[in-house]
Amino acid sequence: MTAADRPCFHCGEPIPRGLVLHARIAGRDEPVCCHGCKAVAEFITGAGLGDYYRYRDTASTRADEPPRPDRWAAYDRPELVERLTRAEPDGARSITVLLEGLRCAACSWLADKALSLQSGVLSVSVNPATARARLVWDPAKVQLGDLLRVLEHVGLRPHPLAGEPSEQVALLERRNALKRLAVAGFGSMQVMMFAVPLYFGEANGMDPTMREYMRLVSMLVSIPVALYAGWPFYQGAWVALRSRSVSMDVPVSIGIILAFVASVWHALTGRGEVYFDSVTMFVFFLGLGRYIEMVARHRAGSVADALARLAPMTARRVRAGVTEDVQAVELAIGDEFLVRSGEVFAADGVVLEGDGRVDESMLTGESAAIAKPPGAPVHQGTHNLAAPLRVRVTAVAGNTVLSGIVALLERAQAERPRLAKAADRAAAWFLGRILVGAAIVFAVWWFVDPARAFPATLAVLVVTCPCALSLATPTALAAATAALARRGVLVAHTDAIEALSKATHVLWDKTGTLTKGLVRVEDVRAFGSVTSGQALAWAAALEQMSEHPIGRAFAASGAATQRASEVEVHAGRGLEGRVEGRLLRIGTRSFVGELADPHATAPTEQPAADDAATDSWIHLGDDTGMLAAFRLTDPLRPEAGNCVAGLAALGLPSEIVSGDEPGAVARIAARCGIERHAARLTPQDKLARLKALQASGAVVVAVGDGINDAPLLRGADVAVAMGRGSALAQTSADLILVRESLDDLPHTVQLARRTQRVIRQNLGWAIAYNLAALPLAALGFVPPWLAAIGMSLSSVVVVLNAMRLSRGSAPTRRPEWPATREAEAA
C-alpha cells in the first residue's frame, strides 16, 4: 500500500495501516490520515488557498473529526450574537476569537484569506503570536456562525472570547514594555556616545566647560531612562517591600536609584564620577530580558483563555417549556438546560432526565466515561458522551468546580511561590554581600577620613551593583531565552533556566507527552470478503452514535457516509445496529462473536497477548462471523526513546507517573527505556511522589499536558507543557514545547547549563574586576580614565560572553563539556 509509505498530506502524521483514504487535491489523490484532515485539505484547496501547503513551515494540527456545522448553530441567532460581540461603526460587529491549531504564520495567512473571501467580512486581523483573530463583519450580510464554520473548515478550531478584556490588557502591556525598552535603548546609545569623549577627555585633558556640558547632557538623557523605562522595577520592588519580602526587583532598584542619584549629584556639583552609561545600559538589558519573557508568557496564554476553551459560551435553556439558546452567563441557579450528546456542560448541575455518560477527564484525569443517572452531579466543562441530558443548574460563574480550579491556578500564578523563593535567595545573597562590603568601606574610611567616607561607600555600591549583578545575569538569560524561542521552546519564566540547569529527575505524565494523547485506529484487519475500507465505514457508522473516546477514534478514521439505525448500546461490551440493512456488532470479541453462531470461524490472526496491554482490539462482526478487527492505540512519539536516553546521558533519570492502567504504563516505559514507573495515580499521588523526590533533595522537572497534571506541574521545580496540551497545563508551565518535539528537551537542559556557566563566568569576571580595580582606584594607583575604560570593556566582555549563547552551537562540539558533566556528577 503506497499510501502507508507517506504521511498524511495535511497533518503529517503516519497513516493507519490498512486505511485507504485520499483527498482530491489539484487533480491528484493525496493520502490523508482521517476524515477530518480530508475535509480540511479539500476545503482549503477548493477555496483556492492551496498555497498554504507551500508556505507553511510546520505540519498542521490533526483535524480528527470532520467539521460539525451544527456546533455553531447558536451563533447564527442575531440577538445572541449581539450580546456576545462589540458594536462597531456603521452597524458592524466585532469579536476576538482564539484559534486552536494556529501554529505558524502560514496558518494565520490561511485564516485571514479564508475569512476575507466571505462577503460581509469587513476586516480580519490574525495575530500568530497570541493565536487570536479579531473579526469585524456586517451582520446584515453574514452571520458569526458562518465565519466560525469557515475557520473550523480550514482546520483552526475557533473559541469566541466574549468581550475579552484580558487580551486588550495584555496588548497594552506589551506595547508599553516596548516603549520603555525603546527609551532605554535610545537613551543608552546616546549616553554611551557622550561617555566616550568623557573617558578620553579624562586621559588627554578636556575643557572643564565642555566636560560639565557633556555630563549634564548625559544626565538629561538618563532622566527618562531611569524614571520612565525603569519604572516597572521600582513598582515591583515596592510591591515586594510592602509585603515584607525581597524580590529580585529590590537590589535592582537600589542599584539603579543609587547609581542614578549619585551621578545626578556629581553632575550637578561637578565633582566625582558619573555612571549614567552603566545605569542606562543596565535598564536596557534588564528590560530586554523582561520583555522577551513577557511575550513568551502572553503566548502561553492566560487563565482566562483556558476557561474560554473549556466552558462553552452558550447553553440551551428550557424555561416554561420553551427551549432557547442563551449565553452561558445568563444561566441562573435553578434554571434547566439541555446538553446534547457531545456537548460540554455550561454550568454545574444535577441531572434531571436522561441516562448519561460523562467524560470528566479534565477534572479527574480518569478517561473512562462516568455514568450519570438522574440525580447525579455534573460539572461545568465536562463532556456529555451519550444520551441528551436535562440538567438543573446548581452553581454558576465563580462557584463551579472548574472556576475553583482556575481561581486556584490564578492565585498560584500570581504568587509564584516556587520562583519567588529562588529569586529571593539570590537577591538576599547579593544584597547581603554588597551591603556588608559597603559597611566595611564606610567604617574604614570613617576612621581614615570622615569627609570621604560617604563618596567612597557610594562608589562601592554603585560600581558593584550594576556591573556585577545586573548585566551578568540578564544578558545571559535574554540570549538563552531568544535562542530557545528560535527552536520552538518558549520560556515563560526565565527563573526556570536556573532550576533546569540543576535538575536531577524528570517526571513524565505518560499520556500526551511520551505518547501523542490521541486514541486512533492504528491497524485494520479485514477477514473474508470485506475490504478494510468497507469495514471501517461500517464501524464508523455504528460508532457515530457513540461519543465514547473509542467512538471518536473511529469518527476520525472512518467514512461517516452511512447511517446506522436501531443502534443499541451494551455498556462495557459494544454496540449493535443496522447499517445498509445488515445487522452488525462492534465491541469486544465475545460480544461480537455471540451474534454469529458459536462455531463461527475465529479469525486466524489473533492479536498477540502483549499487544492487548496498551492497544485495544475492537472487533466488528455480523451474523456470519467476524468481519474485521481494529487496533486502537495511543501512539508513542517517535522521538520519545531518544529524548529519555538523551536526558539520562545528561544525568537526568526519567520516571513515569500516570493515571493509566499498569499494563499500558509498563509497556510504554519499556519502549522508552524508563525503569521507574507508577500507574493508576491520582493527581494527589503524583504530587506526593514529587514531594517525596524533592524532600530527598532532588530538583524535579515535570512534563505534562493535561488539566489533571496542573498540580504536578505547579509543584515541580521546572514545569514543561506541550504546545498542544490543555491551556490550563500551559498556564502553570515554565517551558512550553511549541513544536511538540521531545528532542528539544535535552537540548534545553544543555543550554540551561551553558547559561548558568556563562552567568558564573560573567559574575566571576565582574566581581574579580571590581575587587581588583576598586581598591587600586581608591588608593590612587589607577587614573580615573583607565578605570572608566576598564569598566566599559568589562561590560562589553560580559555582553559578548552572553551573546555566545544565542548562537545555536551544539554543546557536543565543546570538548570540555562531557568532562564537566562527569565532574558535577561525581
Partner: protein, 60 residues
C-alpha cells in the same frame, strides 16, 4: 568645539523625533504582529492557476 553646543541639542532633537515615531508606530499596532505581514507579499489577488496549487509532495 563650540559647535557641539549646537550639534548635541540638535542630535537630541533627532533622537526625540525617532522616539516619537517609534511610540506612534507602537501605538498604532505596527509591532503587534511581526510575522504575518511578511506573508502578505505572497498573497496576490490573482486566482492561482491550477498548476500553482500543486503542493510539494511531502509537507515540510
Amino acid at each position: 568645539m563650540e559647535i557641539l553646543f549646537i550639534m548635541i541639542p540638535l542630535g537630541l532633537v533627532l533622537v526625540g523625533l525617532g522616539l516619537w515615531a517609534f511610540f506612534w508606530a507602537t501605538g498604532s499596532g505596527q509591532f503587534d504582529d511581526l510575522d504575518s505581514p511578511g506573508w502578505s507579499v505572497l498573497d496576490d489577488d490573482r486566482k492561482p492557476a491550477p498548476g500553482d496549487q500543486q503542493p510539494p509532495d511531502e509537507p515540510r
